[in-house]
Symmetry: none
Subunit: 231 residues, 2 copies
């Protein structure tokens, strides 16, 4: 599954350039040229990262950024600001509003791509390597294998993705709806109670042999990996 980039840019010269180059780099690119579309696309297209022009018609990039941060559906999507100005003042203001990085025009594609990767790594560190760990739990994307301690844990595809999702941010509570979105996909309709069942299956597999349950149920909210657990 390729990385999805949403480009918000009104100058066609630039957006074309970006689309062309980023597509060549293997990203899946969607372009919009105005703020309202940006907000809609952010929810709809579910990009992994947003490249946001500072200067936009109607609404400024900063405002978009603020609004992205205000909605829980889009809050976690990292944003890189694209701007013509290089002044530190603006840079800080950008960060302040929730931008994750900042690229000054004109920029080299190479640098932009590197920064995209850097930001993704930082905000979604699990995307980095093929191996992620949490306490004594090791999840390997490459071999699709999970181990706990020295024991191999057998998981179905759904449980695997569920754990993969939870482990991205240990401690963070995911609602059933968020899990459905992330694990099952946005266009799938399943009962939200189904999440319970899969959490149960994941628990059973993970804790086989009487181990401590690393998954925390948060009543009326959802589930999380228990960050106080460490072995």
């Amino acid at each position: 599954m390729s990385i999805k980039v949403l480009v918000v840019e009104d100058e066609e010269a630039i957006s074309h350039l970006l689309k062309y180059n980023l597509t060549a780099e293997g990203f899946e690119v969607s372009v919009v040229d105005d703020g309202d579309e940006a907000l809609m696309a952010a929810e709809d297209f579910q990009p992994d990262i947003i490249l946001l022009d500072w200067m936009l018609p109607n609404v400024s990039g900063i405002e978009i950024c603020r609004q992205l941060r205000a909605r829980s559906e889009t809050r976690d999507i990292p944003v890189i600001m694209l701007t013509a100005r290089a002044e530190e003042e603006d840079r800080l203001r950008g960060f302040d509003k929730g931008a994750d990085d900042y690229v000054t025009k004109p920029f080299s594609m190479k640098e932009l791509v590197a920064r995209i990767h850097a930001v993704l790594r930082r905000t979604n560190p699990a995307a980095t390597g093929n191996v992620v760990t949490f306490g004594d739990i090791v999840l390997d994307r490459e071999t699709m294998r999970v181990t706990r301690g020295s024991v191999t844990v057998t998981l179905g595809p759904t449980e695997f993705r569920l754990l993969e999702t939870l482990i991205k941010r240990p401690g963070r509570v995911y609602s059933r709806e968020q899990l459905l979105d992330r694990v099952w996909g946005q266009d799938i309709y399943v009962e939200s109670r189904t999440v319970d069942v899969h959490i149960g299956r994941l628990r059973k597999a993970l804790n086989k042999g009487g181990l401590v349950d690393p998954i925390r149920t948060v009543r009326a909210s959802g589930y999380a990996l228990d960050e106080t657990y460490s072995g």
Copy 2:
């Protein structure tokens, strides 16, 4: 509490220099000179930021970086790479492996300190946006956890929302009706005395172990967090 820096550097000349200068700048500095130690120290010393030499004996800095990113315990610690080479190629590779910034030797202390602050500014706010505190009480929306001092406080959903509401404006007095509106929702009908009960429950959970009650009862008006309380 000062900012903790972990320096991973095998050349003693440099690590001494760093330790001396960073300590003088008010950082708490720990130095290790090899990759495995670095990984251990990262978990153990819990630095706020890591300065990582590119060239290390045994394992390369890049590899360390990758491994730091794989573990949930160390995933969020930002990394600044120190390197002798200035080539863009390497720079990009560094970003690619998860570095947050990149400093080329020889560097001025001033620049390094500035970069440390810049990186911390960039990485911290995102992580702490969902946390509110009042005195020694910490409420984290992301993990849906409340702690007092170092103890986790167990709250039901209603008590959680109640505290969440009160903590938004410490000191402000909320009438029972206002609390019902904000905590229970506008279209719900419950006895206004029910608020008393939940305040009681919140108090019990919060003050377990004989702590000072941070909630102030305002006779004939309602409740508030006591702004004179601060620990």
